[in-house]
């Protein structure tokens, strides 16, 4: 099975081409084909990633050498605990997005183009998660980024095009920062393989450009992760995309492109230093607080969720910035939880828009009478997001706050607490405005969304309620611990990869 790991990249990217090819021949008649093909692809990918999580024990990573060229010469794919964890998050949320799209995307033309782009996005992210060398990392990053630019503008309304343009310009600058620092590293070490770079740097730590490289990486990945003050593109871009894509962008893309990149580069390649972690902590504290305060002022439901993502990514990076075992555990767990509840909330907003044709919360009222499932799942999802027990967000925030107190970052613990309160305030306000109260005349005809959409909502709602069980030691051991260990080994990553490569 180990030889099959390139399938994580081959299948989605191959599917993208196949769907596009068939679609361009059959045009609108290809709708069902595109639905079924993409569904099968993401189901396979999800099962495949779960298989690796359960089967592989990740004492050592699984390696795959392109064309059998061993590192540092060839291109290497590395599947370790962290990659596998990220792969599960990507592919599971992608599965949900496809399931939701079947009905939701019916109103758009050229559904096959949508699926082709979606597959490209997934393929790019899977590639990032497994890439063992920096150049491929960058290539996959660009594949997924470009796919997401197009997906944001998929509705081709003026506002969506504007948002996509802004997103493209700002995200490209982020990419340039990352490319520049990769170039600087290459100039210094003469290699692009992550493990090799790590060893070269470890052997000769005094390198004048290291500061610049670190800063370029922080800014570049900070922009991809939408940390304050690099967040400006997100509130425009995420709401403009179709709802399943918004769910994927907010739930997964910012984490894979931003948080995962940051963690992989700084923990496993460059080695985490006190200064870097302090900068990450400052940025994450700012994101948590500013994101949620701006969230409170929104009346567009998807924009509100977008600001919430800024705040929540702050929590995730708070955990990684602390760098303690408990902090990393909390960060990973919150990453997973956020992916679940934020995609749920975006799907919810999609369901609302699907029925009411508006995203303005002041125009909606009393919807729970007509859409009980959507209403109930919003209720659970927003409680998860605010960290109300016993839903999943509570557990990860609990761990994060305990970790922050343990690391004696009391101010950050306080910010995390206050942000959680404000998140609660913001979500309950929406709940009050949109779902409770009396139904206006104009919305009298709405009904519950189609079955594939409600199925998505129900699955994610159940996860929100039950994911607290992840902390039961035996389950945690399988799901979270191997990812946590992959981060905690730090620059020993290189040693492990080379040991495995020489076997």
């Amino acid at each position: 099975m180990d030889k099959l790991i390139p399938l994580f990249i081959v299948i989605p990217i191959g599917s993208a081409f196949i769907i596009y090819l068939i679609g361009s021949i059959l045009k609108e008649r290809s709708r069902r084909f595109a639905d079924i093909w993409s569904m099968l692809a993401v189901i396979f990918l999800s099962l495949f990633s779960v298989y690796f999580l359960v089967q592989a024990r990740f004492g050592s990573p699984i390696l795959f050498f392109m064309g059998s060229w061993k590192p540092p010469i060839g291109i290497t794919l590395v599947l370790d605990g962290l990659s596998c964890f990220i792969l599960i998050v990507i592919n599971f949320i992608a599965l949900m997005a496809v399931l939701f799209s079947i009905s939701y995307m019916e109103k758009f033309t050229a559904k096959y183009k949508f699926y082709a782009l979606l597959m490209l996005l997934i393929g790019g992210m899977n590639g990032i998660a497994m890439s063992g060398d920096l150049f491929n990392f960058y290539v996959f990053l660009e594949i997924s980024a470009i796919a997401s630019y197009v997906l944001v503008s998929f509705g081709v309304e003026p506002l969506e095009l504007e948002a996509a343009f802004k997103y493209m310009v700002l995200a490209s600058i982020g990419s340039i920062f990352i490319l520049l620092s990769i170039a600087l590293l290459y100039a210094r070490t003469g290699t692009l393989n992550m493990a090799d770079i790590s060893q070269t740097i470890a052997n000769n730590p005094n390198y004048p450009f290291m500061v610049l490289i670190s800063i370029l990486f922080i800014v570049g990945f900070g922009l991809k992760a939408a940390l304050v003050p690099f967040h400006a593109w997100l509130p425009d871009a995420h709401p403009s995309a179709p709802a399943p894509i918004s769910a994927l962008l907010s739930g997964v893309v910012i984490k894979v492109l931003g948080a995962y990149g940051l963690v992989r580069i700084f923990y496993n390649v460059l080695g985490m230093s006190h200064n870097v972690s302090l900068i990450i902590l400052i940025l994450s504290g700012l994101s948590m607080l500013i994101g949620v305060i701006l969230q409170l002022g929104q009346t567009d439901i998807k924009r509100l969720l977008a600001y919430c993502s800024i705040s929540q990514i702050g929590y995730v990076l708070l955990g990684f910035g602390l760098g303690t075992p408990l902090g990393i555990l909390g960060g990973l767990f919150h990453l997973l939880n956020h992916a679940v509840f934020k995609s749920l909330l975006f799907f919810n907003s999609g369901a609302l828009e699907y029925e009411t044709h508006t995203r303005d919360i002041t125009k909606m009222s009393g919807i729970s009478q007509k859409m009980p499932i959507t209403s109930f799942s919003w209720f659970i999802g927003s409680f998860s997001a605010s960290g109300v027990p016993p839903f999943n967000g509570f557990w990860s925030k609990l761990i994060l706050i305990i970790a922050a107190v343990q690391a004696q970052h009391y101010i950050l613990a306080g910010i995390a607490g206050v942000s959680a309160i404000l998140t609660l305030a913001s979500f309950i306000k929406v709940q009050k405005q949109v779902f409770l109260g009396s139904l206006p005349e104009s919305l009298a005809k709405i009904k519950e969304v189609p079955i594939t959409m409600t199925a998505t909502l129900i699955i994610l709602t159940i996860l929100c309620v039950t994911m607290g069980i992840m902390l039961i030691p035996s389950i945690r051991h399988t799901v979270l611990d191997s990812a946590q260990n992959a981060i905690l080994i730090g620059t020993d990553y290189a040693k492990i990869v080379f040991e495995k490569a020489l076997q």
């Binding site: 343009f165 802004k166 310009v169 700002l170 600058i173 920062f177 500061v211 670190s214 800063i215 922080i218 800014v219 900070g222 922009l223 003050p229 690099f230 400006a232 593109w233 509130p235 425009d236 006190h274 200064n275 302090l278 900068i279 400052i282 500013i290 305060i293 701006l294 409170l296 002022g297 409680f383 605010s386 960290g387 109300v388 027990p389 016993p390 509570f394 925030k397 609990l398 706050i401 305990i402 922050a404 107190v405 343990q406 009391y410 613990a413 306080g414 995390a416 607490g417 959680a420 309160i421 404000l422 609660l424 305030a425 309950i428 306000k429 709940q431 009050k432 409770l436 109260g437 009396s438």
Partner: protein, 629 residues
């Protein structure tokens, strides 16, 4: 089998049974079926009876100390609170016959379940879980009320849920300090910054739930719109029990608040401010539910004051007051609910003369009004007396405590004054013309009220039994009081007094009837308006008109004349503008920040690019500063 051997699984029954039954009711049918209503009602009552009886059986047969692993622990104190909780759950369930919605019963059962979990929990995280669940259910129950209830529900959840999150930080600090989450293993001396911060964070959680000032505004806002039985269940009884239970746990077990220490003074100040400020607000309310809700805040003051003294007698007083308050406050809310049920009216101005038509409700309201005002020999007096004793005990070494004593006593007087207004406006005088036929409420509604009223009397007369028996085993301290107070003697004296008075009344000749001007509270009543209210636009409007022909004198404006005092008038005006409401203040501050945020998010790409580079420069600056250090 090992699982069953090692733990006392029976302790989970009060938590699991209502949870599961609630779930079954929720799943059974999607519709709000009328035909199932009776079944759901009886099932709910049955469950509450069962778990109450079961817990009683458990306590009496197995003992007052049972634990289920490190998770749940029943010890005398928590057991007592648990029994009280279950009793109130049962009474409210009986009262809820007229509730039409199935979801109400589901939430009611779940509320009882998670409250039991909160009380039994011996692990801080389990406590947090249950605590949060109570807040969510409170939100759900309040939003079942009249149109517009969702706004108050929103405020309630943000305040209570927000305080939970602060508690979470408190728990994190406690865990950091002690390395354990098992509550009965934790004992942190209140010294140094960290323990004090942790204590304050947990205190905020407890006080918000109990509704002490300045975290009280959610109770007041919910009062008008929420279903009345919900007010009687949560803010009036269960939330008080939980909040004060936690307050006691943190100030006696987890941390030690010593008499005369800074934290003790803080608690006493919070207590006295709650007493006096809330009761002053209650005096001028025009809606009976709102008035009661301010008393719900005011009475918490006595409990906090009592526990804050840190001396055994004060603590016992505070705890006894908690039980007593839950009894008479829910009786009052249920009574007001009965009035609302029959008249569809809660405004004091529009009610009147109901004593004739609703004698049982009147009797219950009368007894519980006297109890809340601390009239001997009712229960409210007994517990207030103990609280005063506690404060005097502290005052022996710290003379400033006398000040708290004066406030507490003065608050009690004002309580009586405001309840005279309630009784007069609802039950005495002439019936308002707008209200047509009124008759007494049904058995299901007055039975719980009567039980509560009887408890008011019984706990007052036989106050020594609960004080000596239950609280001594709960806290393990003997009780001694100063001053002469013997409830049995007093009761006998009182009864003798009543008999003597009646004899005198019967023996004397019928007096001549003297006619005079109608007056109230020393002020002659004239057809002129009693109160002139200034409108914001500069004009004036006249309210409180007395209709001499109808002989109807609305009691609504009894104490409005205190607003004529300049300083008080200002304070009331500021309070009406919600100046003291931390929720509204926070909202204002944040909306200012949001405005600024909007201005800088102008949507221009150039601006955003500017930030990006500015941000990059700042990061570089921070990095270099760190490097140079």
């Amino acid at each position: 089998m090992a699982f069953w051997d090692t733990i006392n699984f029976g302790l989970a029954i009060p938590v699991l049974v209502p949870l599961i039954v609630g779930l079954l009711i929720a799943l059974y049918s999607k519709r709000e079926l009328k035909s199932w209503k009776n079944m759901v009602y009886f099932l709910t009552v049955l469950v509450t009876v069962f778990i109450f009886a079961y817990t009683l059986y458990l306590v009496l047969n197995v003992g007052w100390r049972i634990n289920m692993g490190n998770w749940l622990l029943l010890y005398p104190f928590s057991g007592f609170i648990l029994l009280a909780t279950l009793l109130f759950g049962f009474l409210i369930a009986v009262y809820s016959y007229n509730q039409m919605r199935k979801s109400y019963f589901v939430y009611l059962l779940w509320t009882i379940s998670v409250s039991c979990l909160a009380i039994l929990s011996n692990n801080l995280v389990v406590l947090l879980l249950a605590w949060g669940a109570v807040a969510v259910l409170l939100y759900l129950l309040v939003s079942l009320g009249k149109p517009g209830a969702e706004v108050s529900a929103y405020k309630a959840l943000v305040m209570v849920g927000g305080s939970d999150i602060l508690m979470l930080i408190g728990v994190a600090i406690v865990y950091y300090l002690t390395g354990t989450l098992t509550m009965n293993e934790i004992s942190v001396p209140l010294q140094g910054a960290m323990p004090i911060i942790a204590f304050i964070l947990l205190l905020i959680g407890a006080l918000t739930k109990a509704g002490a000032m300045p975290f009280h505004t959610w109770i007041v806002d919910s009062a008008e719109k929420a279903p009345v039985s919900v007010m009687a269940l949560l803010p009036a009884s269960l939330d008080k029990l939980l909040g004060i239970y936690l307050l006691t746990r943190i100030s006696l077990d987890l941390f030690k608040v010593l008499p005369g220490s800074a934290m003790s003074i803080v608690l006493m100040i919070i207590g006295s401010i709650s007493i006096i400020a809330a009761v002053s607000m209650a005096l001028v309310q025009k809606n009976v539910l709102k008035l009661l809700s301010f008393h719900a805040v005011s009475q918490v003051g006595y409990m906090v004051l009592g526990i804050g003294t840190g001396v055994p007698i004060g603590i016992i007083g505070g705890l006894f007051h908690m039980i007593n308050n839950a009894i008479y406050k829910s009786a009052l809310f249920l009574g007001a609910g009965a009035v609302e049920e029959r008249t569809h009216e809660t405004s004091l101005e529009k009610l009147g003369g109901l004593a004739k038509y609703m004698p049982i409700t009147f009797l219950v309201m009368f007894i519980s009004s006297m109890a809340i005002s601390g009239i001997p020999p009712l229960n409210g007096f007994a517990s207030k007396w103990l609280v005063y004793q506690g404060v005097i005990e502290v005052a022996k070494s710290n003379s400033y405590a006398i000040f708290f004593l004066v406030i507490a006593m003065f608050g009690s007087v004002l309580t009586l004054a405001s309840f005279l207004k309630v009784l007069h406006s609802i039950f005495l005088g002439e019936k308002s013309k707008t209200i047509s036929k009124v008759k007494e409420v049904g058995l299901g509604m007055y039975l719980p009220m009567l039980i509560l009223a009887i408890l008011c009397i019984a706990l007052g007369i036989f106050a020594n039994i609960p004080i000596n028996y239950l609280f001594s085993i709960a806290l393990g301290t003997p009780v001694s009081t100063i001053g002469i107070w013997n409830s049995n003697l007093t009761t006998i004296l009182l009864i003798v007094g009543i008999i003597l008075g009646s004899i005198v009344y019967l023996l004397r000749k019928q007096p001549k009837i003297r006619t005079s001007e109608v007056f109230i509270g020393g002020e002659v009543v004239s057809p002129e308006p009693q109160v002139v209210v200034s409108l914001p636009d500069g004009g004036e409007t006249k309210t409180g008109v007395v209709d001499i022909e109808e002989a109807k004198i609305p009691g609504t404006y009894f104490y409005d004349s205190i607003k004529k005092i300049k300083l008080l008038d200002d304070i009331y005006r500021v309070a009406d503008n919600k100046f003291f409401d931390i929720f509204e203040q926070a909202k204002k501050t944040i909306s200012l920040v949001i405005k600024t945020g909007r201005r800088i998010h102008n949507g221009l790409l150039q601006t955003y690019l500017g930030w990006l580079f500015l941000g990059a420069i700042v990061v570089i600056a921070i990095y270099l500063i760190l490097l140079l250090k």
